[in-house]
Symmetry: C2
Subunit: 450 residues, 2 copies
Amino acid sequence: MDSYHIPKSRRILRPQWVLGPEGLRSGIEVVIEAGRVAQLRAQTGPVDLPGHALLPGFVNAHSHAFQRGLRGHVQWRQGSDDFRTWRERMYALATGLDPDGVEAVSALAFLEMALAGITTVGEFHYLHHNPDGAPYADPDELARRVIAAARRVGLRICLLRVAYHRAGAGRPPTPAQRRFVDPTPERALDALTRLQKLDDPAVSVGLAPHSVRAVPAPWLRTFAEARLDVPVHAHVAEQPFELEECRAEHGADPLAVFERAGLVDDRFCAVHLTWPAEGDRERLRAAGARVCACPSTELDLGDGFLPVDKLEGVEVCLGSDSHALIDPLFEARALELHARGVQGRRNVLSPPDAPDGLALRLLDAATAHGARALGVDAGRIAVGAWADLVAVDLRDPVFAGARPLPTLVFCGHPRLVRAVWVAGEPVVTEGQHPQAPAILEAAEAALRAT
Amino acid sequence: MDSYHIPKSRRILRPQWVLGPEGLRSGIEVVIEAGRVAQLRAQTGPVDLPGHALLPGFVNAHSHAFQRGLRGHVQWRQGSDDFRTWRERMYALATGLDPDGVEAVSALAFLEMALAGITTVGEFHYLHHNPDGAPYADPDELARRVIAAARRVGLRICLLRVAYHRAGAGRPPTPAQRRFVDPTPERALDALTRLQKLDDPAVSVGLAPHSVRAVPAPWLRTFAEARLDVPVHAHVAEQPFELEECRAEHGADPLAVFERAGLVDDRFCAVHLTWPAEGDRERLRAAGARVCACPSTELDLGDGFLPVDKLEGVEVCLGSDSHALIDPLFEARALELHARGVQGRRNVLSPPDAPDGLALRLLDAATAHGARALGVDAGRIAVGAWADLVAVDLRDPVFAGARPLPTLVFCGHPRLVRAVWVAGEPVVTEGQHPQAPAILEAAEAALRAT
């Protein structure tokens, strides 16, 4: 893995506008020191990003990077196609990648994220072992490869180390799941402890008990008793069949099972929750826990639409999950737009009654909420926070005559992002990433080999 | 209006790939003569669009160009916000634009369409008169302005001349609707006849009885009796309240009212039909009539999701309608993806069982189906058809390791379109339109004045 040093240099950005809590402001410069925002002050020199707005970088709180290899190969009907047949094809890809392949395809996903303005990724990482289930010589080989891929691209990463044990209640893992499984919960915790020692301020770790399907309840209690001070993310209620299976095993709904184990607190994030059960909103609000929606993947898989009205008061962050699409602005607007489609009215979310209120709320989901869900001090342009930033060109025709923030959220796409910085260091410049050709070539070679 | 001449020059395009009925093919060159595809043959020289795929230009079958001026200004809550409060704001914009303003804002919408790969627009044009309702000295002033805007940008346009008479059953037009109304159906037909005389092969006309709300049944019969050989488009069943009002007035559902008047044939296109009534599918199939879905606007307005499963066998085309978003690839994938969300399964549409089957079907909606709905021989790359073409750069990172056509449809965005030709003449080159700066400036000035 490339080593990483906190940049010691000082950098000043003078964009035309800077996004603050209440909208865009002009005349501000951002002083960056040691990778963090050191000052926000009146500009002391000419604008150096004319026509650009500086925003906090987007936070992609739920990613399975290697699934980028599925793109374009799973959009056709093969008999009766559903979530489970898609999953079989995902397992086949997971089985086919060696460590170099995992690193190469992950780098491709992270490159595309950087180009779309994502500065932090929460990688829900469940590929651990050899395809036959035997650990690598370094048992954290694949986690390190994925982290290396993110750092090579320049992204900040929170590696959410997955614990996975079984195919379902009373069912051992299938052959295709052998790469994912730990024999005991302690092994998962050991891996977490080792990965926590990585000496890179842009790398952090969290724990991801995969789901109530894949992780038995005693494991969940073991994780809670470990009293880890890390983010805990889990797949919860993505598909209706999961609820049925969970009720059959536990006599309770999935989120209630996590709560009963003691895992639902303000570090907990319920990924998907497309089908919240009775009481889930109160559970999450009481704990200060969060939801991570992945609208593009949830549409792709036919999961359904997140019922945002049933989660009022719960902080929602966003993920691109399977990377059928990597566009944080799409994910953000989908929170509101899908709810409009379902409810048959406009402005379903209830932000402050101001022209930019709804846009700011949706941008929060794509930035600050994700950062908090991953325990990273980013997702906002504020003194002390990491200088993870993106510049958007408001001179693009989509903005002509339009109010910029609502237009960015409801009409934006990845190529409006022209520059990206992580910890104050440039990652994307003029829409280009310097390592793109090499990353594309390696990923294409790896995918041809699967 | 700028005059237009069929280009006499011969042009040969040699892209890396050309889209045919069964997918992408390499080694083909497209010979263009007099604005049409004259030959498709084996390449006689080196590839001149390396890494690019040549597709038929997208057809935007439902546009209200001036509504582009609403973008970013109507995405916030003002008390109880719904379709009708949005419409009040749209009326205010409609009232505020003078002929120069209508032309300038229309040109902005058309410019953005061209940059997104749209080569033909169906402009559902209902701004006819002075804000006080008096005709302009040239009664077709605004129609000519909108056509001029499209031709200045370089788009092919089918002007769907709207007939509008009333606010609703028994209700005269409101002051804000005075610009839209004709006193008699004959006046609308007269306008159509005048506009049919425009001598430009890239301009055609159709008739658009606005809706059963705005047009009385006797007018519909007058239109049917005129036996016009032009496309007939109408708003049908966009919101549930329209069905209730229609049943109260006519004792029948909206599409049935059009059918009873004799208007539903293979030139008819039901715009929206988000709420199809019992029997609508059979009505459309029997007549060979079409549906035009506008998913991005229908989401924005909270209309609902088009139930594609209830319209199996009916040709569906696409429109960007209010231009909250102009992205034909989004509209195309939404047909399938929204249905997945509603139905909870993948691959709801049932295309040929082939890797590109679903992508080709959705691309047809964005191209050939729209062309047929507008009566234009385009939307396909075939000998004899207009050479309305787009080149997409498949070297973009979104395509790396992925199957191109499904990736384009499910992951594409406007900036992947690098070049656009209409009737064989370049409109967009290297992602740029030569008149963009002037068009943006004029539109911004016009919108500031409203």
